[in-house]
Symmetry: C2
Subunit: 284 residues, 2 copies
């Protein structure tokens, strides 16, 4: 079992999970992080449950070679599809981005009408609704898949009239539902926060799962006696970044959203980490 | 060696290549087709050369198990990165979507100023420029990456004010270059043809590589004595569709653009078709 000075594993389909890593760095500055972005196979949001589970298993297998003490699934789609499976298989704590956000959303809503925006896969999975109703079965949940927003965020059109128009169209239905709380259920969406704020209006509370999961991680590590006891120094020593493709492009994007410049991103062949004896999950 | 009644293999990162398959069905109605869409790993347009080559090799290996007589790479990114490698390795004819379109563009331009729109990977590869200059070294080529258009096409916003605005922004630079010919260098873009027509204006000739590569395939099969001698009947018998994920979603999209309804799409695990002894290509 990895000790308290071991790193936390964080993974996502690509760069979106960096908004989660950023929050962990901010809230838990002494923790080491091993980040993996599956850039060869992104996005996950359009893919099926079995495929996302298979990809997630390979990534977890890779992270375990780094002797991580806990894993954060920093991707809503992978959380929706693979969290429970991964939790069942591992002895170390594994948390996802959905549960903490659901708990907070239920605690801040005044009228019990909550909206959720995310990828087609996340919304289709119904996992936010399930999590929200677990905390308060009376809440009404309105989901809306927004497949274009990841591309817009990655294109860098963060403050842009076209992005505003797209968000406005996606939120149209939700506005008629009188929601007072909106969960940004995709790790790319915090990058579009100001656009969501503008279109949703001041009366709607935006819930950012990246912030909430970093809080949850801090509490969890504390409870389990796994909080890192000492700060090992600069970002170069504390944070390791791995991707399955296009390390340079990842670096560029990461440097635009992290508070420091990444010195090195290593590329690995994630398919080599296929879990044996799991063939039942390999076909849809 | 596969005989003339063998099928033609057609592959793409996902659904875009169906615009090519559709043209082959229209122009060469007697040919059988085995189509593969790599829906588990789409899109290719943001990925690196080595990764796209590795994925393409796996797909080719799968298609060879279907004893195809020829292969059409119905994806601009895969053509840009993997065509030459694949051609070197196979004895059957392999063609891509770039060359035929380049030849036609050079023959229709009046002022030798040609624009190319495509994915980040296709434009970044410079393969269209190379192909165009091979036919006429005097042409000036202006490339523009349009990463949002695949998502917009897949969202089904084909005739839409937002799509018009996005296309307009992408074409802005090209308009100042006085191009008279524009290559739609991504297999999704023919779905947005009317928007391109509207924004580019009537004076710009649009070149559709899907149409041109189907023409090239017909000529090639004829020259090699590989044209199918007899029509085997309905679409159900002639056409086979395979994907690496989400067969149902593929089916839905395919049925919206093909002139018949697909009865069956089979899902396979494409990673199982890893070519042995090619490890040199597995790391970036």
């Amino acid at each position: 079992m990895a000790g308290s000075n071991a790193p936390v594993g964080v993974f996502d389909s690509g760069v979106g999970g960096l908004t989660v890593a950023r929050e962990i760095m901010r809230q838990l500055p002494e923790e080491r992080i091993v980040y993996f972005g599956d850039t060869a196979r992104l996005p996950y949001g359009t893919k099926s449950r079995n495929t996302v589970i298979r990809f997630s298993r390979q990534i977890v297998r890779f992270l375990m070679t780094k002797e991580v003490k806990a894993i954060v699934i920093a991707c809503n789609t992978a959380t929706a599809f693979a969290l429970e499976e991964i939790q069942r298989e591992l002895r170390i704590p594994v948390i996802g981005v959905i549960d903490a956000a659901a708990r907070v959303a239920v605690s801040v809503t005044g009228n019990n009408r909550i909206g959720v925006v995310g990828t087609t896969a996340t919304i289709g999975s119904g996992m936010y609704e399930k999590a929200l109703k677990q905390y308060n079965e009376k809440v009404k949940v309105y989901g809306k898949a927004c497949p274009l927003l990841v591309s817009l965020a990655e294109e860098g059109w963060l403050h842009d009239t076209i992005t505003e128009e797209v968000v406005s169209r996606y939120l149209k239905d939700l506005r008629y539902k009188s929601i007072d709380t909106l969960i940004l259920g995709c790790t790319h969406y915090p990058l579009l926060r100001s656009t969501f704020r503008k279109i949703a209006g001041e009366d709607v509370t935006l819930v950012n799962p990246a912030y909430e999961v970093a809080m949850e991680l801090g509490e969890l590590l504390k409870t389990r006696g796994l909080s890192c006891g000492r700060d090992v120094g600069g970002a170069g020593e504390k944070y390791e970044f791995f991707v399955s493709d296009a390390a340079e492009k990842f670096c560029e994007f990461a440097n635009s959203i992290l508070p420091f410049d990444i010195e090195q991103v290593k590329q690995i062949n994630i398919e080599d980490f296929e879990a044996e004896g799991r063939d039942a999950f390999r076909e849809g």
